[in-house]
């Protein structure tokens, strides 16, 4: 081999570290982690629906009374979401461009289906989040929810959720979105540990199992709510709203 003149590569500044391939992985892992923690926290909030109208509305009111907290969490989540999605799409195209001429015969030996569909499950989750915010948070799609109040005059989140999920379509879309989310997580969670360099041959299976466990818990937790509403286990409070 003839000698090749090699520069040691570009000098490293912190912005270059982020634009390095490993930096990008770390970035996706960090934003993903924040959003996953939010998903877990949100689940704990939602499950209070099973404790009845008063409990859920008290919780919702408590969050409303802490605008500093809710808005800072919302801001961080918004930034994480936008950056994660934007970077993810960018990476998808960058990675495709790394192989300008494609194979005629494509084979996969061990890459999981979840790992190969991250971009699609990711886009699915993103679209759902947009709809979900318009539906329940900003009450744009179903403006009639805005007028719901309970006996104490609080915004009746409980009835809003029940009414929403009594619609089979809304529930179906919700379950589909949860499938996307949890399938995404089965690859995301083990990847998180690999990217942070915490993985080795012994921990590998363990992290895979942890990923599936967390994803399953999240799936069951969230899906229980529309299922319970559709099975009429969770119903509107006595005497209407």
């Amino acid at each position: 081999m003839s000698t090749v003149q090699v520069s040691s590569g570009p000098a490293q500044t912190s912005s270059m570290v982020l634009s390095s391939s490993i930096g990008k992985k770390l970035f996706m892992a960090a934003t993903g982690l924040f959003m996953s923690l939010f998903v877990l926290g949100h689940l704990v909030g939602n499950l209070q629906i099973f404790l009845g109208q008063d409990q859920l509305n008290t919780y919702a009111q408590a969050l409303k009374d802490l605008p500093a907290l809710t808005w800072s969490v919302r801001t961080v989540m918004f930034i994480c979401l936008v950056l994660h999605v934007w970077r993810g799409i960018q990476l998808y195209f960058e990675n495709r461009a790394s192989r300008p001429v494609r194979y005629h015969v494509n084979a996969t030996v061990q890459a999981s289906l979840a790992s190969r569909t991250m971009i699609f499950t990711g886009i699915g989750i993103f679209l759902y989040v947009v709809y979900h915010l318009l539906h329940y948070t900003f009450i744009v799609t179903n403006p009639q929810y805005a007028g719901l109040h309970d006996a104490l005059g609080r915004h009746d989140v409980y009835s809003m959720v029940v009414l929403g999920f009594q619609n089979g379509w809304i529930s179906a879309v919700y379950v589909l979105a949860m499938l996307c989310l949890c399938y995404h997580l089965t690859h995301a969670i083990p990847s998180f540990f690999q990217t942070l360099g915490l993985n080795n041959d012994k921990t590998r299976l363990r992290f895979d199992i942890i990923g599936w466990l967390i994803a399953t818990v999240i799936f069951i937790g969230y899906t229980m709510i529309p299922v319970a509403v559709l099975l009429k286990l969770v119903i509107l409070p006595e005497g209407g709203m």
Binding site: S20, I22, N95, N106, T195, G197, D201
Partner: protein, 246 residues
């Protein structure tokens, strides 16, 4: 045994290539994949057709020169085997076999199935040297290293630099190759002086060469003829994290 081959033919780096069909007749099941191609080439020469160009050297699985993506899998999919070690008995008589070059933007085709893998050499060069004391050769066992560490470093050092990891990766990422090189030296006392700089420079060069980003498909590990584990990628991520926070 008889086979129908669909082989990528491409005059040079600039011209567009295409798949051509050839027949491989009377092939012994004990032949290696490359020997089968030798037979096909002999017949092509007899017919006045330019033989199929492909890389090869040692033909015993140690040099990393042979390549080829066989039916979509680099080195043909027999675990722990290079193309030169792959025997025709792994195929069924009458099979149609598609042979393509290793594909990656960083591996431009030179001709037919030969690709330019010097990007990997440039990553190695970017890694630089290992500082060593001058003077007489050190005494054996003067530098005790734990058995597990030696084994793990040796497993990483088994990389023959063939580039199958890049060819298999759906992102054409070179992480398994680079991580094997980084892991090999990072675990040994000889590699400590330049440890931090090495990982920074090799990763920077890897990105500069236009390899894709790793998204943990682990296809690389599945096709690696030396069965190098993706735990090395985790180690490189760790080394890189340490390097940038230093």
């Amino acid at each position: 045994m008889n086979f129908t081959l669909r082989v990528w033919r491409q005059k040079n780096a600039r011209e567009k290539g295409c798949l051509e069909t050839y027949q491989a007749r009377d092939i012994s099941e004990d032949m290696s994949f490359l020997e089968m191609l030798d037979v096909v080439n002999e017949n092509l020469v007899k017919d006045g057709i330019e033989p199929i160009h492909f890389d090869h050297d040692c033909r015993e699985g140690i040099c990393g020169a042979c390549s080829l993506v066989i039916n979509g899998i680099p080195h043909g999919g027999k675990k722990g085997c290079t193309t030169c070690e792959l025997r025709m008995r792994n195929f069924a008589d009458g099979d149609t076999i598609t042979v393509e070059p290793f594909r990656a933007g960083a591996f431009p085709v030179i001709k037919d199935l030969m690709v330019d893998r010097s990007a990997l050499d440039r990553i190695m060069q970017a890694g630089g040297f290992v500082s060593a004391n001058t003077g007489g050769a050190p005494d054996a066992n003067a530098l005790p290293i734990k058995k597990d560490t030696v084994e793990s470093a040796m497993d990483a050092a088994a990389c023959i630099g063939c580039g199958a990891c890049v060819a298999a990766c759906k992102n054409a990422s070179a992480m398994l190759f680079v991580s094997a090189k980084v892991s090999h030296l990072a675990q040994l006392p000889q590699g400590q002086v330049e440890r931090v700089e090495r990982v920074r420079k090799m990763v920077a060069r890897m990105d500069f060469e236009g390899f894709g980003n790793c998204t943990n498909y682990y296809e690389c590990e599945a096709v690696c003829p030396k069965e190098i584990s993706v735990k090395n990628i985790a180690r490189m991520n760790r080394e890189f994290l340490k390097a940038i926070t230093k």
